[in-house]
Amino acid sequence: MKREQITTALADIRAEQDPTLKAQKLASLCSAAFRERGFELVVVGGSAIEFYTEGAYTSGDVDLCVLRPAQTIPLRLRQEVMGELAAEGGPRSWQVAGLFVDLLGVVEKECQTPIRQLQGPYGAVNLIDPEELLVERLLVAVYPSPNPSARACAKELLGVALTGRVAVDWAEVQKLAAAPGYKVLPELTELIREVANELKVRNPYDSN
């Protein structure tokens, strides 16, 4: 990216007052900058949940992981790239244009469905798939102790999926929930029934 493009993008992000748009714009800029250096990033955590649900979940930080290649980004390179974006701090967390960016290492992902992609204003943004987010939130909602915020989040993800606002692979969700890494299939089945009833929509696991 040319210096003028970066300056314009940073001014736009700094001026943005909508937290969801601000986070996605910043993710778009960071992704473009690291892509030029051969690293593909993916948005995880609250900003990814917000992308799918608009559930007023996200806070003032954007969590990014490395998607490809599956290796950590050298510290020197991180500082160089984030320095080009006028970031302060590092080498794992920076302040940029009024938000915090955390670079968390290589993404952990069990789900076989594709990473979703948003054509952001400064370049493509990869987002961890909703199937993985849903099952992960469900696990956190139950273990190690009941977590109302995680449960609300799982309900919101189910809501946008069951109403068709977000396309999901229901077979993959079921498979993931039953996998040894999660083991939350009964909880998933119960919550889907609850949300489908509440929204009066079809339960994808009902046979008729």
Partner: protein, 69 residues
């Protein structure tokens, strides 16, 4: 694209444009509000100190109202 309502779906197998994603925001928020009227934001996190220092005691910027999306 959902032809019934013309509110774009976030697809599995292809990217969604910025414009289509924006178009669906209000509908997604409405569903989330219905299911979790009290919101889903975590009350605390390990980043609290830096967030509250940056955002005047809050954990981030205030969210827009649903009708403004």
């Amino acid at each position: 694209m959902n032809s019934k309502s013309e509110i774009p779906t976030i697809p599995i197998d292809r990217p969604i444009s910025w414009e289509d994603w924006l178009k669906g925001r209000q509908a997604r928020r409405a569903i989330s509000e219905r299911l979790a009227p009290q919101g889903s934001q975590r009350p605390t996190s390990s980043s609290d100190r830096r967030l509250r220092r940056q955002f005047n005691g809050q954990r981030g910027l205030p969210f827009r109202k649903t009708e403004e999306l």
